[in-house]
Symmetry: C2
Subunit: 339 residues, 2 copies
């Protein structure tokens, strides 16, 4: 290339850079100003659905409308809500604000997906992440407990247990971050399930500092660790069952999301909601076991076999988690049975 031609090329590329930059700026501001009226409309429709639902409720309770008609109208309103909430329009609805947990770890970046299919993909991936971890949740402590009685002669070595606890910490952090992201993307997940994972994170962290004592007499000294591992296995069972239910629930919603555009009748969730009543006794049993493990930990600390603060702390945390889980599960059941 020659002197004069490179001078020209450089000048033209500078010009072009300016032009393209202006074009992009114009495109961005046009696109966001086009979006504004749509945003208003979506929010308007959403609030009209809400107010119609409460009018319907009051009409029904005052017996001003026949129940069969109320059912039909309720179904229609649910369909309208589904169109707004499960379609592209949902990206224009206000999501839950980004909480301080996300801000603490990620800074002020926005994690809201603007397209509904991306949001569903995130949810899908969360479910399969949970599936994978639930299996490990069963296997990892099970292997430790089996090796303990068959190979390690009743005495857990420190290193594998600490590996496991570090893995737990990593896992719960990932779950808590993902659930926060789902919430920003419009999921209705109750805050408690997220707090539950914060508690589990703290517990994993505390258990890492827990000094695992060796011989002599380690069956007694390691009672706390052993209980902890057993509880973790139960947690794996709970997660597997819960995932099965939740995934089916998601599929039903996606299918309905497609169906509703073709005006197919609503009401297929009944099958999935029935499963809930099967799941709940198992969940309650597990929650009882969680509280029991917590109390046993407290007992070993009080009786004085193991007197570290970590044991007391984990015991209290487990009892709190069990109570919270129970209360929230009962609340969900109450809300669901009202409909």
């Amino acid at each position: 290339m020659e002197e004069s031609s490179i001078e020209e090329s450089v000048a033209s590329v500078v010009e072009e850079a300016k032009e393209v930059q202006d074009a992009v700026s114009a495109h961005i501001s046009k696109s966001s100003s086009d979006e504004e009226p749509l945003r208003q409309r979506v929010r308007g429709v959403n609030s009209r659905i809400h107010s119609l639902r409460s009018s319907l409720d009051s009409l029904l309770s005052n017996k001003l409308i026949p129940p069969s008609l109320a059912d039909k109208l309720d179904e229609d309103l649910q369909r309208a809500r589904c169109i707004i909430v499960d379609g592209d329009a949902s990206s224009l609805l206000p999501g839950h604000a980004q909480g301080s947990f996300l801000r603490m770890f990620l800074g002020p970046i926005n994690v809201r997906a603007s397209r509904k299919d991306v949001q569903l993909k995130v949810k899908e991936e969360y479910n399969s992440y949970r599936d994978r971890t639930a299996l490990l949740f069963l296997l990892f402590p099970a292997i430790l407990l089996i090796l303990r009685s068959w190979v390690w002669a009743g005495c857990l070595p420190t290193f594998p247990v600490q590996m496991y606890q570090a893995w737990l910490l990593f896992l719960y952090t990932g779950l808590a971050l993902r659930e926060n992201i789902l919430r920003v993307n419009g999921s209705d997940i109750r805050p408690w399930w997220i707090y539950h994972h914060y508690c589990a994170m703290i517990m994993a962290l505390v258990s890492l500092t827990w000094d695992i004592k060796g011989q002599p007499d380690c069956a007694k000294k390691q009672r706390g660790v052993q209980l902890f591992l057993q509880w973790a296995m139960m947690q794996g069972v709970a997660m597997l069952l819960q995932n099965r239910y939740q995934r089916q629930r998601l599929y039903t919603r996606i299918a309905l999301g497609k169906a509703k555009r073709m005006d197919v009748v609503w009401g297929e969730t009944a099958g999935v909601d029935g499963q809930l009543w099967l799941l709940c006794p198992i969940l309650f049993t597990l929650q009882g076991f969680e509280a029991y493990v917590g109390l046993l930990l407290l007992k070993t600390a009080v009786v004085g076999v193991v007197s570290e603060w970590q044991v007391i702390f984990c015991g209290v945390l487990l009892v709190l988690m069990a109570v919270g889980n129970f209360a929230n599960t009962v609340q969900i059941l109450m809300v669901k049975s009202r409909f």
Copy 2:
């Protein structure tokens, strides 16, 4: 409300929900199809800038162009690049792909900001996060070390040290996540500085499982922990200095980003780049100290005062980090002095 009027309202809200959903879908697909040609143009300009720069280099090395002209053209090209990279157009350039660290913790959510001002805000916030942590980095270990000699009679208690280590783990995780996010948003941060924080995360995790021995003779047994705290304080000094430099660099770039649209002459970075030569001797000293602490840790392990695997592991990691930091700092200096 009456029976008939609520029927009508419900029917109309269902209709409106469908309409608004269609309008939103249409808006989204129109906006992304409008974006496509812009994306092509931005990428075209970007690659033309790159090829012109190499033509310019070869013309200059073959002495086919006077150096003063080459300087001017180089400045023009830098300005063009600045317009593309620091303006809204940059959102259409391919960023670094989202690495597996982010996918592991966050799932498949996209953390790329589409507007340049948001990207700058993220960068700003990262800098001020680092400022805040650098102060704590200095204070936290300093307080521990002071209390150790004045209050705790030469013997660090376990709990505050573990608190500190847990805080380190949390901090490094946050830094690693944020740096990954910056990279996705087009920052040129070298991968090593991110790996460096992965290493620091692992080190904090390992040090949490490190059994801090008490009396008798704890001055000797706690030598490892003490060295670790001293190194952390040095790290705080390094961060503070680095932040000062990096923030000034960012401000200069933002100012230039505004200036360049008004065609002000380029070349103000010289002042900031000069600071780099002041910063580097300090950084090298700190890196030397890092390696020294690592070697001392290895020595205490070999001599046999403290024989836990954690001490050896942290020692090796520190030496590796020091070598990597040194190599990368030297490379950056070499790249910068070429211009």
